[in-house]
Symmetry: C2
């Protein structure tokens, strides 16, 4: 695996791959890689000739009160995991390389960026859309792999790609979970044992919602109430939101007609965690 | 000249040119082409192997009270002018081709987009940055030619390209003028004879500012007052702004130290016109 820290090095490598007719795959990450990231990398490797993974903890998507400085980092372990997954080139730019001067350009996807995660993190998706647009421009035409754990983020990126005609195929990949159902996340590293156990309440809330739907319940108010109750029963968890939304637009709905998406966010110990799952009523 | 109306046709043509190692040049326009546009095209043709010109009257950069519907169009004459300049491919997409659904993604360049043109047109540069980002993504890596007549626009685009790492070289090209000094503009077509004569007041205001600077005046207040007086002496003109700004950042300055940029905007008859010029005190 070729490791680079500058944009021109990555661009030269990827441009020459494309010039040879090779398909480029991209897995953008914030590092502290786990099996979820590795599943994106393995999928990219299986579908592309050359895979670039990026590691960049993007300051733009953290609010001043968030965990930017504390965000876990382990470049040695990350490099090993990426190499093991078959990544061709690892781009790990510094903040100065990415933002040599104050970034005054921002990309905003309205509607999809509102509500849910934006309730707690109002500037988050603008920071995400901006850095992802930049990474797309650095990497060039490619297949780009994102995890479905950040479901709203995936919807924001898909819409940005469509609205701005990026020459990019966005591929959403299934959530990878621990044995007890907890969605893998770099922020799970903050959890002490009791928090780690409590954190399963997110997945249990989703399961409770799906169970009601499978039993025929269609009222979003009723389903959300059942989901909330699961999180609220957990002393170590503080509910941020539960939501049952239109699967495509993430807009609010009153009744589940066919497809829907269930989402949950809660603070468990020091970590703000999220999870989601699909329900198909067809 | 190959004329296409869809994004995939343009992309296929340009991708295959790049695959042959050819340099692509881009001249984005809103049509109703004049000698100013043609000079951009000729420059692009002289520096690139393959030149794409685009014609798209972009609704996003017009406010509801502006001249979107009235904006002059002449596709036959435009095609002839572009072909004569040596353009390889003309992309003239419909609004539905560019925006098949409501565009919810926007690109904003703060700071540079504020003041000057944004005083009268507060949402203008967001519309410009968004469509130019989209055109850059459609066309792919290239040299992109923009006229210096839209000087603030050029600054906004340069900064967007730098902040978001577009793989694009932005090339600013000198203003092309009528014999009497009026900067060429599609909006000159709105001017009746008396307005056409009055419209030279923009260039005369810039000349008055430069004359003062050359005589040693360095106070921006004094220079702007002299420039304003020229426009205000013209009955058929209504001054929007005159400005002497830092040449690079377009920020306000009190004294001209070395380089500066002079800008003017005024309504003449039905047309809102702009002009600008550089002053180098070195």
């Amino acid at each position: 695996m070729y490791t680079v820290h500058t944009i021109p090095q990555a661009r030269a490598f990827l441009d020459s791959a494309r010039a040879r007719g090779q398909q480029v795959g991209l897995v953008p990450t914030m590092g502290f890689l786990h099996a979820g990231h590795q599943s994106l990398m393995r999928r990219a490797v299986s579908e592309c000739d050359v895979v670039v993974a990026t590691i960049f903890v993007n300051p733009l998507q953290f609010a001043p009160n968030e965990d930017l400085a504390a965000y876990p980092r382990d470049f040695v372990a990350d490099s090993e995991l990426a190499a093991e997954a078959g990544v061709s080139i690892l781009l790990a730019p510094s903040v100065d390389e990415m933002y040599p001067e104050t970034v005054v350009t921002s990309v905003r996807v309205s509607g999809l960026s509102d509500g849910l995660e934006s309730g707690a993190r109002p500037t988050h998706f603008e920071g995400v859309a901006t850095v992802v647009a930049k990474l797309f421009n650095v990497v060039g035409p490619c297949r780009a792999y994102f995890g479905e754990k950040d479901y709203q983020q995936l919807a924001v990126i898909r819409r940005m790609v469509s609205d701005l005609s990026f020459n990019i195929q966005v591929i959403g990949c299934p959530i990878v979970r621990e044995v007890d159902g907890l969605a893998m996340s770099s922020r799970n590293a903050y959890l002490e044992a009791a928090d780690r156990e409590a954190a399963t309440c997110l997945r249990r809330a989703l399961d409770a919602g799906v169970a009601l739907l499978e039993a025929g319940e269609r009222s979003v108010v009723a389903i959300e109430a059942a989901m909330s109750a699961v999180v609220e029963a957990e002393d170590r968890a503080t509910l941020d939101y539960v939501a049952v939304r239109d699967a495509d637009t993430l807009q609010t709905i009153a009744q589940v007609e066919e497809d829907a998406h269930l989402l949950v966010a809660a603070k468990v110990g020091p970590s703000r965690l999220i999870d989601n799952c699909a329900f198909s009523g067809k």
